[in-house]
Subunit: 459 residues, 2 copies
Amino acid sequence: MGEFIIQGTVLTPVSATRVDMGRAVVHVAADGRIAARHAHDTPAAADLLAHAARSGIPVRTLGLEQLLMPGFADLHVHAPQWPQMGRALDLPLRDWLEQRTFPLEARFADPDFAGPVYEEMVTTLLANGTTTAVFFATIHEESSLLLARICLHHGLRAHVGLVAMDDPELCPEGYRNTSVEQALAATRRFIHAVRALPGNESGLVRPMVTPRFIPACTDGLLHGLGVMAAEEDCLIQTHCSESDWEHDYVRQRTGVNDTVALDRFGLLRRGTVLAHSCFMTEDDMALVQARGAAIAHCPLSNAYFAGGVLPLRTAWQAGVHVGLGTDISGGYSPSVAVNAAMAVTAARMLDTGNDPARPQAQRGRPGSRISFAEGLWLATRGGAQALGIDAGQLEVGMAFDAIEIDRTAPGSNILPPIHGEDGAAEDVAQQILCNMGRPNIRTVWVAGRQVHGTDAAPD
Amino acid sequence: MGEFIIQGTVLTPVSATRVDMGRAVVHVAADGRIAARHAHDTPAAADLLAHAARSGIPVRTLGLEQLLMPGFADLHVHAPQWPQMGRALDLPLRDWLEQRTFPLEARFADPDFAGPVYEEMVTTLLANGTTTAVFFATIHEESSLLLARICLHHGLRAHVGLVAMDDPELCPEGYRNTSVEQALAATRRFIHAVRALPGNESGLVRPMVTPRFIPACTDGLLHGLGVMAAEEDCLIQTHCSESDWEHDYVRQRTGVNDTVALDRFGLLRRGTVLAHSCFMTEDDMALVQARGAAIAHCPLSNAYFAGGVLPLRTAWQAGVHVGLGTDISGGYSPSVAVNAAMAVTAARMLDTGNDPARPQAQRGRPGSRISFAEGLWLATRGGAQALGIDAGQLEVGMAFDAIEIDRTAPGSNILPPIHGEDGAAEDVAQQILCNMGRPNIRTVWVAGRQVHGTDAAPD
């Protein structure tokens, strides 16, 4: 992969609340990082272009209707639930799990079943602009390793977790680890195998320690996984304080909230990704902040399975890292943009409340709303930061994980500016989150490598 | 426009709660209505195909991955707000109106400004599968009539309202009717002009009496419009009980809720479309039902500007007609499918409540949830029924307002069934509402005329 230069309109979050947009010349180095970014029509930009011309570095120039923006981070995807995305959400949670989800996940014992599903999932996520993904796989080592290989092959920056779940009380007979020892040995082998994958020297694909959630795991397994995460210096993912049912179950079993229980098991560390977390208290959030762990906010899924909206503003005020998760298939959309728009919408609904039968003063939680600029941050830098990855902003030093948006593509629902008035950066960011569809996504890069699109080779 | 036969998988709501899917042969008569629909592999289907062969009636055959379904009805679109779709939703309502919306609408005084905007809007709505739309235009007769002409030209089944707004208290100086008499005369001329448009003999495009909402209109104007609607036997649209602010304003000015006030002005009739209606009481709903009026439910917009979720289940239990509205640009998506999915999501959030800080028992309004089958009904037959139109189901006697969905189109986020197992009709309906994008919409027909797509001429 060689260095290249790309010039065009760059849209990037500069902080959680501020979006920047302007014509720029960007130098992507051979290591896939942004070596330089200069505003168009500056001497530095001219120098860079002159240097490129002298050195034969390819230059790609985008039109006025194209935009370069950071790729999306999806912090919570159940890879084996891909075939039921957009299905079965009318079912109650128990039926959803027992009738649909567990039997589907169990089929991934067969790598021949898993392969085509994971192949289609990875390419579809890339086509939707996801450049970083965090996957729950299944308990099956071979299929889960296949997922890691497929991510690596297609160039998706990915985190893959072999799921651990051993409690016979809550896990089905045919789909659970047979013992604590079996689960721990499998996880250890999996961590080593992912790290040793040929072509993975840069760590594009990383393993994750993945207890499904406290209710599915025995204390012995949770403790063992905490020890292993420290020994292996491995990221962790699990579900946390998702719903009343789950929250109450954990309190009943452990006497404390999920965060405290996870911390006691050694599972709350920098790089731990806690899916959902709707029912976290301020004390929980302070603990999560102290440990450097992060929340994967899944606003669409939460409407169906959590029964509450994460008080995101409160989490931010506590200094907690937050990114977005599609939670496929508890959430129905593979698009992080759709989920970012839903995060803004859900925060509005938490802010104002939603039941008109209550008086206004007793309805909402004022101060909860977030802006679309904040939605963009969540979808990009927020997620990358949660994972400790230098990506999510098109800034010098960051990996070039980027999307080329074509606002005038056939089939676009992003309206081009009327009479050429381009509007504020915030408006454009909002249009992208609200109205972007697959036709708008022309090219996607991860670490400087083109991973989606056919016409974007530097010219 | 000649008759034709189309055979393929048909997905259609049969009631508010039931979806049907199966291979069928459909006969579309020259008047644009469905003359026959027979299940595939029945003698009646074979007879129909033999008749077509003998008579030279064109037959189009869809593949197994295509689906024929009814087109969508969008009951609430602010046509002049099209250029700011997906923009400015972070602004408070007052700033949104004063800084953005009213100045934008005022520009439609110029038909040269309006023409390209309306042209793009109508073709984009058709491309998103909308076959029936209800538009608020502006107070400008020439531009609003141009909108009606553009709808007619492109074959969109449309309802166009010349907006009436005359109260200097709440309407801006440069954008309001100058007197009750001026507003009434303009509305009367507009009704006649739309009905007299060449090519509109079948009434594909209908005028609507359109008081913006009670706060923008004087009593004299509201009364005059009520009288005119009866004299002209014209449909009516307005906003109703949208937000705390609007609801309280009307109560303060009139002493009653919007519905009662509208009824007193003669504005609550069969075919009246009441946008939003979040704050309707059960008494309001009983009155709306008694008058045969309908609600345009705009779940996405309501999250931003209403501060409450319409208790849709309660409205249905009262026997009120309900359809969906995108409420562009209060809502950000031109897709009725997106809004249908949001209706299901919002109903879940009303059902469970959304603030985790409240105890579960005090959080939600249990019983409020709706299914995706009901979401499909809302998006199709519910909306058509509200307007008294025979469309929205692919049944004999209905207009052939239909969409051809290609589940395997390049750029599709609808997952094809794994191993050819197609799943229940409800699952497929849900996938379409949740995951459909423009790439999936191959062809759109209104009243038997192809209005979108290039490759679907009967072969």
